[in-house]
Symmetry: C4
Subunit: 260 residues, 4 copies
């Protein structure tokens, strides 16, 4: 096996496909968002990427092992008005269970993802993720970061916030490198980051990010499933707050960190 | 020395050999199981694998140093009825004291092991290990995971359990990659995982795994030595429980972790 | 992207340029010092260095992402008397937000920096940094270390202290390798280390280092901005000392480590 | 700079030189021992080895930086009776301030050291080090480990102890790989390990190791300097024991670990 190995599963015919990245990260916001897209729309796995940078791990589903990988899914969203796929939007959705584990690995994998996307015709990229606020957020805003200033206005028009020097620590991982490396290739890259506590898996933040994406790209998706998950999480949060009230103490990071 | 270096010690003539992997892991279940096979049957070291991924370490036996390595042993089990080796089962047993220490190292080493096994004619692989339950297990079940769904039924017939989404964290290390990388090569790979607390070296769990292997492959092995070790461990466990009863407290991970 | 990738942004005509390195380190002394130079004098970015050894990270300024990098800036300081740039000093100032994260990465990056500097004509290097004292320093001295003994006298003449076996742990990171690898190339390298507590960002120590540099190279720079920052830090220190007095305890590392 | 870079400083004419390795390790026993040899006999640095695996660090002596390296020193010990160097013993002494920091780095560096030694004619290697006992040792024994069983007897004759399965954890680092990799090259390698607490720099243990080396190789060295250092250490130990007596407690690892 090479350091990075690509399995070609299908050769979709996509028209101006847009790459949507949602790998694991803060609040699992990006991953929840792209998984929701894959559940709501028909999709086809077109590439699977294996890498020696991923953990030496298989996931087991019904007893059958699958090697750690990231996948590119082709999604075609028909035009809402005409219900005609040829008028719709083509997405290339990148997801998976792992990020790389070394600095160099992050760079190499992101380059591989961008290579694959460009081969399939991608010119525009949305990297989805969360931005940690450290406290529970009732109405999560969506922060933006872009590869070039000219892309800001269109995003601000649909409610994306651009704040001076935020996020303070920059953007890390694949989403950060999509911006950095994709931008250097001349791609139009935007990172959409839903505010999230950082302590919980956050379907509400994922929804906020998707609402922006709907507006930018012009499609419609049902949020029922995400809203149900958000309600479940709110019950969890309610129970935690009850426990805190009884203890008369603020929740510590340890109380919250691994819930979800 | 290359990153991985193979020493050829013998060229055994094996008929449809089956690879049995038992490197160190949870409860040392896999390693105990294959060591028991090597003690009970005649065997011959056929390959020794050195790797710069292994710790920079030698083991000392009677003053003589041996460089960290993994070994492939040829084992021929004569047919029980005819006592004729040509009717029996040929195993290629992989064991050693170390796993790799980086992600990429795990991938490279497992690929090397599979290359060697395929050169010797292996088509079928059993990766032996333990699955941690977090508590002492009276009658350990054996969980299974396979490279392809078609192999499940035969294993269920001999009592291997396949549970939905278990083990939850997947399978890691060489056993996991045997499934993942071996499966991608078209080999028939099964991972047999004995339930074990995760705190103690567990000969009873190793025996449970071997009983399954006996049934699948059709051989007979004495378990006297393993049962003795299991009794010794039970004495240790008894003493720990006594100590806990006196202290009126549940054992912590730290009490138990390094015992065995 | 290669492991290290260099973007050429300008080809300045510099006369006997002197490399001034100030990457992040103890008390951010080196980085504060070179940033002050870049603020006080006109400068031009001439090279940008990207590396897979840097964190997989972009910084965000006004919503626009910039990939982790180090930069070489050309600075021309006109002669004080004649105010003529051709009589002045040419500096090549190296700064950035990151150091490498592995041993080998530090070596490779420093070699890359030295390659670039030599191509631009550098023969002499000053690596600026801090040396931790563990306690607040009223009047920070500047310690020196050089690539060859013949460079000591000139530095002692302007107040740089050379102490037997200090700094005790040697010099680490890019500054250390500037000395070690630069010296092996035959460059004249000096490391100037301002004393600093090690707990706080230290503009006063940065100023002490720059005063030495002024004297060695013969230029004049206003310290107003650094002095303002130093005053702000002193207020912070004052508040910490107040808190300690109230608690009647000495400050712990944790109290102080991340302040600034 | 290559991953490993060798500087040739001299081409000594040595007759059947014996490699003596003493890099930093448990109780600094090996390093103390070889440093003592270099102080007591005339020596010449013949090779300096730089490596990107070493820390990115320079040591500073009287203000002058020296890049992290390991050195091979040629030592010629004249025959005691004839005082004739041509009848004496030639040693190649390997020392330095660092070990590698990754598994693969340890393997690569040891191979490099062995390559250099073989080029200079080395057939026999003594790796010097300490073996931790966890308690203060009045009369340290010297444990042995060898690359081949035939070398045991000669060492037992001069008092080296070979114990079954000791040291329990094997031998790690460069000393371990000298045995493992040197043995695979067909060199005669012995590791001599002085018992030492593991908490203190231990000149007494270094002396015990050198006494064995004297007997094996047939040379005489004064131990005055080592004995003085041992006395200094005993004063330190005395003070620690006093402190313990006052506190009525046994010393913890933390009390002792970094003393010396």
């Amino acid at each position: 096996m090479d350091d990075i190995e690509v399995e070609v599963l299908a050769e979709p015919e996509l028209s101006d496909p847009i790459l949507i990245e949602g790998l694991p990260g803060v609040g699992h916001v990006g991953k929840l968002a792209v998984e929701h897209l894959l559940e709501e729309f028909e999709s086809e796995v077109v590439r699977r990427v294996y890498a020696t940078e991923f953990p030496p791990q298989v996931t087991i589903t019904d007893g059958v092992a699958e090697l750690a990988s990231a996948e590119l899914h082709a999604v075609t969203i028909a035009d809402e008005a005409t219900d005609d796929e040829t008028d719709g939007i083509d997405l290339l959705v990148l997801t998976g269970d792992h990020q790389a584990q070394t600095n160099a690995g992050h760079y190499r994998l992101t380059e591989a993802f961008l290579d694959l996307a460009e081969e399939i015709g991608v010119q525009q990229v949305f990297a989805l993720g969360g931005v940690p606020t450290g406290e529970l957020v009732e109405e999560p805003s969506v922060l933006g970061a872009v590869s070039a200033g000219e892309h800001i206005e269109a995003l601000e028009d649909v409610g994306v916030e651009f704040r001076e020097d935020e996020p303070a620590g920059g953007v890390v991982g694949v989403s950060g490198l999509m911006l950095g490396l994709g931008g250097r290739r001349g791609l139009e890259v935007a990172c959409l980051m839903g505010e999230t506590s950082g302590y919980l898996v956050d379907p509400k933040s994922a929804q906020a990010v998707l609402v922006v994406l709907e507006d930018v790209l012009g499609f419609d998706v049902s949020f029922e499933a995400l809203e149900e998950r958000a309600e479940e999480m709110e019950e969890v949060v309610g129970k935690i707050q009850e426990m805190q009230d009884q203890q008369g103490s603020v929740p510590t990071d340890d109380d919250l960190r691994y819930i979800g």
